[in-house]
Structures are given as C-alpha cells and as structure tokens.
Amino acid sequence: MSRIVSLATGLTRAWTATYTTGLPGEAKASRRTEIECDLWEQRNAAARACEPSYAVAAHILARLILGMPSDMSWRAHSAARHERRVQVKESRSGRTLFVLALAIAALPVLMGAGTIAGDITNDGGAGALWGLAVVIAGSAIVAGLLMSQRKPVLGLRLVAVGVVVISALWFWVLFIMIPIGVALIAFAYFRGGRAGWPRGAGTV
C-alpha cells in the first residue's frame, strides 16, 4: 500500500475513532469494524483494477469528508439511544449556539482535509502532515463539544487541547484564534455546568 493511501486510510480511521469515542462498546466496535472492512475492500478492489494510488487516496478522502455531517448526526442519535442521558432542557438559542460552535469546530477539519487532498495530488508531504495535525485537532474540538454534557471533564479537555494545537498551527492568525478558542472552551465549560458539573456529573 502506498504512503498516500496509508495516509488517507489512517485519517479515516482517526476520524472514525474520534466520532465513536464515548459510545457504548457494541456501537463503537460495530462502526469501526465496518469502516475498517470498507477500507480494506476499497483498497483491494482498487489494487485489482490497477487504479493509481493518488486516485484511490483522493476517493477515500472524498468519502471521508462528504460523510462527516452524517457521521456526526449518527453519533448524536446513537448517543441519545444508548448512553446515560443527562436531562437538560436546552433553549432554542442554546441549541443554535451549539450548532454554530460545532460548525466552527468542523471548519479546521474540512480545511485540514482539503490541504491533505491538495498535497496528495501534488505528491507532497509536509503539507499533508500539517493538514493531518489540523484535522486531528479539529476533530478533538468536535468530539469535546459533542460530549461536553455527558462527560464534561473529558469534553472540556478535548476542546482545550484542540484549541491550543490549532492556535499553534495557525499562529499567524492568533489574534482571531484566541477569542474563538476562548469562546469554544467557555461554551464547553458552560454546557458541562448546565449538566451539573462540577458537582459530580463530570466523569472522565
């Protein structure tokens, strides 16, 4: 398997691991195994058809990126079905803010994936690594926000780590990243607070 296909496969695995984090064992294992199987079948079919590596990698990345909104929606529904639900009545403005925060957090994931895709087609390397770091950090923020009510401590840590890493990677726009990062961390903190944390609700 070529390096760029390995990279695309690794990104898909990392994203799958991110959005299934915190789900019950069965749901998590099922989704991860299905994605693993899908990746294997796609690589195998591409090898039989002698498809060029960059095309296979770009195809895998496109499937990853285009499916991200569905992944997040599936995760939210799975969590609602399976996990201990923290009963919090959230106002319409609270839900709007949550969606906005998720959209902001998803932006670096998409931009990082775009950088990787561009770098792969140009047969580069450093840009892809930078993009990978951005994708992972952005995914951490998304995952942190998603679990900020059910597991406030872990959620807040993920958001904070993601914000710090992205700020470091995008240091030339630090004056924008600092207020956005502080807002995301504060939002995760207050969502955890609404669930009763730190009075016993927040468990890692």
Partner: protein, 119 residues
C-alpha cells in the same frame, strides 16, 4: 438531504433496490462496500457513497426493520486475512416498503436479532 416525514430518502430506496437485485443475481446478503459499488453503478455516479452517509442509511434501514444484519464468522475473515464483514439482507418488510414507493408505515423494530454476534 432533509427527510420527508414517513418516506425513504433516495439513497435508502437505492440500497433496498440494489439489495434485492443482488439477491436475484444469487447474492442473498451484501456488505457495505458491495452495496456502495452497486449504488454507484445504478446511479452512474463518479464516487462511491460517503462512509458516513452509507452506514447511517444502513443503520436506519435496519432500525426500521427493512434490513437485517449478521456478522461474518471471524474465522472465515481471519482465513482470508481481512476484517470481518457485516452482511445485510433485505427483509420482507423492506420489500413491502419499496413496493409502496418507499412510504414507511411500520413501527421501528429492535436493531439486533437475538443471538447475532457483534465484533
């Protein structure tokens, strides 16, 4: 795509149609990548259905009782040196929903049949 109340979305219809088509061609069960390939051919699309879109649709179809699934024997997968496949089958309820033009009239059923293995 926003779901119309009580109806299957086009991807779900395509999955059911492709599943039935595969059965008629002698493949009673399908896994995710196989159905993605079938749907791509039927829709004459450039790309396979995105991972998230595909597996979310399969999950919903199963919860609605239109598909049932079973994990492959781990020994078979190990012998062939690949990950385990999850095999889906279109149920009679799924066929009936398709015959009604994708209109859902049944209640959701439990996701897993008793005794089915998970990975």
């Amino acid at each position: 795509m926003r779901r119309k109340e009580g109806a299957l979305v086009p991807l779900e219809v395509s999955i059911l149609e492709a599943g039935i088509d595969l059965r008629l061609r002698g493949l009673p069960a399908f896994h995710g990548f196989l159905i993605a390939k079938e749907v791509k051919q039927r829709q004459d699309a450039r790309l396979l259905t995105a991972h998230g879109t595909l597996y979310k649709a399969l999950d919903r179809l199963q919860r609605s009782g239109f598909l049932e699934s079973e994990w492959e024997d781990p020994l078979v997968a190990a012998d062939e040196g690949r990950p385990r496949r999850r095999f889906y089958r279109v149920t009679a309820v799924g066929e009936a929903a398709l015959a009604r033009g994708g209109i859902i009239t049944t209640q959701p059923v439990p996701q897993h049949r008793p005794g089915l293995a998970t990975p």
